[in-house]
Structures are given as structure tokens and as C-alpha cells.
């Protein structure tokens, strides 16, 4: 596996650290599976993104 200094690995680590918000987002998509359109799970995604950004100490 890749060294932790790489951004991709850090990104992956942060996603893993935000498992609870990620699961909430995944569950939302999974529930609306037949009608996914733009921003359908906006609220869950923003919570997830916020968590990842805090964990990575970066904003985008």
C-alpha cells in the first residue's frame, strides 16, 4: 500500500475516519436508489464532507 504522506492515502484515511457520516450518506443514496438526481442527499453529503475536511485539515 501507499505511503501515508501521499494525498490520496490521506484522503482515504479521512474517509475511513468519517465512517458514520459516510454510512448515513450511503444509506440515503441506497434508499433513493431508483430516483437519484442532483443533490438528492445534499444534507447527508455536506455532513460527510464537513467531517472529511475537518479530518484532513483542508477545505475545498
Amino acid at each position: 500500500m501507499s505511503k501515508p504522506k501521499q494525498t490520496v492515502a490521506a484522503f482515504s484515511k479521512s474517509i475511513a475516519a468519517c465512517a458514520s457520516t459516510a454510512t448515513a450518506y450511503g444509506a440515503c443514496i441506497s434508499a433513493t436508489m431508483n430516483d437519484v438526481h442532483k443533490g438528492v442527499c445534499e444534507k447527508e453529503f455536506l455532513a460527510f464532507k464537513d467531517c472529511v475536511q475537518t479530518s484532513m485539515k483542508r477545505k475545498w
Binding site: F11, I15, F45
Partner: protein
């Protein structure tokens, strides 16, 4: 009256000038002139992949030898299974040509009982030479060859193998016809390539993520061959005694991010012609979360399926065994089967 005049005037000038200056050429057909003989021609309807982009991806992947060696696992495993099929043929080949050899995955598994020499062909020179100092049991020759445009003479090869490379060929029927042509009569072609179920988890996750984040989908995972098509493809290319079988390899990854990273290190990144060159960070993390939720294992890893289609075909030859003529049987299968059925209870 005025209207018709105007219309004819509007139409006429261009036509007139064209027909007069380029008289016989533009009259009957607007098709482009035929390409010069011997040049590479893939009909535009078959253009799915950007071969030049694929070559660059392979070059780039192999230039980092250390990382590239770490991701040999899928290709090594499938190469082993292809060699296993080659082992079933009790024949010692002088030369075997391997198309799309990559870094030499077949070479790791073959021995001198099977062949005297292996010719490794790949479109990427860096990938071909990544392990050029490694000693294999069989002597190898490395050649830079475009699999869509084979340089071999007609009736010159005994055996052609290919492992996980033909899924990047644009014109698969054409490539198989070229292979069949270059084989000697009674020569054999054995190949393993990715099938349509490959990476279906990643395909679905990326589609759902893109739909939610960006409101549309783009081609991220290539279209791949279906097992039902391969039999017809083999017959169409003129192979006989054809065999097709399907197999799956599942690999577990920490997350979708590592899967995508490994695919890139293998040189297997997306090379579809009208692909999007950008995967937004938001979409990527959304896809990782969806992948985990929909397909994740209980231990937190995620599985990635690689479906592999194997095909075997022989070039026809008068020396090959052929089915007997219809109606020439001397025993009835029906009697035989019924007879056995009535015999077995008596024995018991």
C-alpha cells in the same frame, strides 16, 4: 415565381462551382478516399478506446517499477490460469507469441516442457522492459507490437496466447481475424480477457455518486465483452473447436480509493475515447461511501469483482478430428441410455 427563382439561386451557385472545378470526384460519393494499402484501418464505428492514451497510461504506470510490481496480483493470477489451459494441450511448441504481455506475467508461469521460446509483444516499451533483467525458465524475446495491427506473416505461428490485454482492442473481430490468419493450420489461440461484470461495483458507485453530486453520468468504466459474444466472435474469425468459459476473481480493498489507485498503477485507467478527464474530489468521496454501503464486507473492506472470459480456438486443418457424418452411428444413444437405466436397478 420569385420564390422559385430565389430558391434555385440559393441552391445553384455552390453546386455549380463544385461540379465544375472538381468534376468527376465529388459527383457520386462523399466517402473519403480509401487509405493507402498496408496502413492501419479501424472503422470509426469500432473506435471505443484511445489506444495512444492507453499506451501512455501503461508507460507511465511501468515507469514506477516498484509501485507497478505491487499491483501485479490480478494479472499474475489470470496469467497462471491461462497457462493452465495451455498445459492441457500436450504439445511442445517451438515459439509461442504472447499478445499484450505487459511486464511478463505469462513468462513467470511457463516452462521448457511447454515451449522453447516465448515472444512477448506489447504496445508499451517501458512495460515490456520493466523486468528485463529477470531470468525466466523459458527464453523470451520482447517486441513492441500494436495488437490491432499484427506484424506476423500468414501461417507463421504455432500458438498465440493473450492474457488481460484484449479488452483494450477497438476492433475485436478484426484482431481475431488477424490472429487466425497468422496462425499455422492446427495452430491454437488461447486468451483471457475481462468480461462485462468486471468492476460492476465501481461502475454503479461512480454512476450513483455522479448522479447525486453532478446530476449526470459519464463513461468511467469501459464497455467489455460478453461471454455469449465470444463464441460467435471465434467462429466468425474462422476458428474451430472453440471453447469459452467464465471465471471470477474477487479482490478485497480497504476502500474504493485504493482500488482506483491500484487500477491506475496497473496501467488500467479509463481510456474510453470521450471520457471525462476529471473526477471531482466530492464525487470520489461520494462514490467511496456508496461503494462501502452497497457492497462493503462486514470487516470494512470492499470487494472488487474481475470477471474473466477465457477462449480457445483452433485454426482449421485437415489433420484435425472432425465430427462423424450425421446418421453414421451404429449404436442408438437412446437404447444405450434406456438400457443402462434398466440394468442399474437389477445390479442394485
Amino acid at each position: 415565381m420569385i420564390r422559385t427563382v430565389a430558391r434555385t439561386l440559393l441552391r445553384q451557385p455552390g453546386v455549380h462551382r463544385n461540379t465544375r472545378t472538381l468534376a468527376p470526384l465529388s459527383f457520386y460519393s462523399t466517402a473519403p478516399p480509401p487509405p493507402p494499402a498496408g496502413s492501419k484501418t479501424v472503422p470509426s464505428s469500432f473506435q471505443v478506446f484511445n489506444r495512444e492514451a492507453k499506451r501512455m497510461q501503461k508507460e507511465r504506470a511501468a515507469s514506477n517499477a516498484e509501485e507497478s510490481r505491487q499491483v501485479d496480483y490480478v494479472k499474475d493470477e489470470v496469467a497462471f490460469r491461462v497457462v493452465d489451459r495451455l498445459l492441457d494441450i500436450r504439445r511442445e511448441f517451438n515459439e509461442v507469441v504472447e499478445l499484450g504481455s505487459g511486464c511478463g506475467h505469462i513468462a513467470k508461469h511457463v516452462d521448457t516442457d511447454m515451449m522453447k521460446k516465448l515472444i512477448m509483444c506489447d504496445m508499451s516499451e517501458t512495460m515490456l522492459n520493466r523486468d528485463k533483467d529477470t531470468e525466466y525458465e523459458v527464453p523470451v524475446e520482447r517486441r513492441v507490437v500494436d495488437e490491432e495491427n499484427l506484424p506476423f506473416k500468414e501461417n507463421s505461428l504455432e500458438c498465440v496466447v493473450s492474457s488481460l490485454s484484449m479488452h483494450w482492442i477497438n476492433d475485436l473481430p478484426g484482431a481475431m481475424i488477424q490472429i487466425q490468419r497468422s496462425l499455422k493450420p492446427d495452430g491454437v489461440f488461447i486468451a483471457g480477457l475481462f468480461g462485462g461484470d468486471t468492476l460492476f461495483e465501481l461502475r454503479t458507485s461512480l454512476q450513483l455518486a455522479e448522479q447525486d453530486r453532478e446530476g449526470g453520468i459519464s463513461p468511467r468504466i469501459s464497455p467489455m465483452a460478453d461471454s455469449r459474444d465470444l463464441g460467435s466472435l471465434l467462429s466468425r474469425a474462422g476458428f474451430t473447436l472453440t471453447t469459452v468459459d467464465v471465471d471470477e476473481v474477487t479482490v478485497n480493498y480497504p476502500s474504493a480509493i485504493e482500488l482506483m489507485q491500484d487500477l491506475r498503477a496497473m496501467g488500467e485507467s479509463n481510456a474510453v475515447i470521450n471520457r471525462r478527464h476529471l473526477l471531482k474530489r466530492d464525487t470520489m468521496m461520494a462514490a467511496a461511501a456508496i461503494y462501502q454501503e452497497l457492497y462493503g464486507n462486514p470487516d470494512g473492506t470492499v470487494p472488487a469483482t474481475f470477471q474473466i472470459l477465457y477462449m480457445i480456438g483452433w485454426k482449421p486443418s485437415p489433420t484435425q478430428n472432425k465430427p462423424l457424418e450425421r446418421g453414421s452411428a451404429k449404436l442408438s444413444l437412446k437404447d444405450r441410455l434406456e438400457g443402462e437405466e434398466s440394468v442399474t436397478p437389477k445390479v442394485e
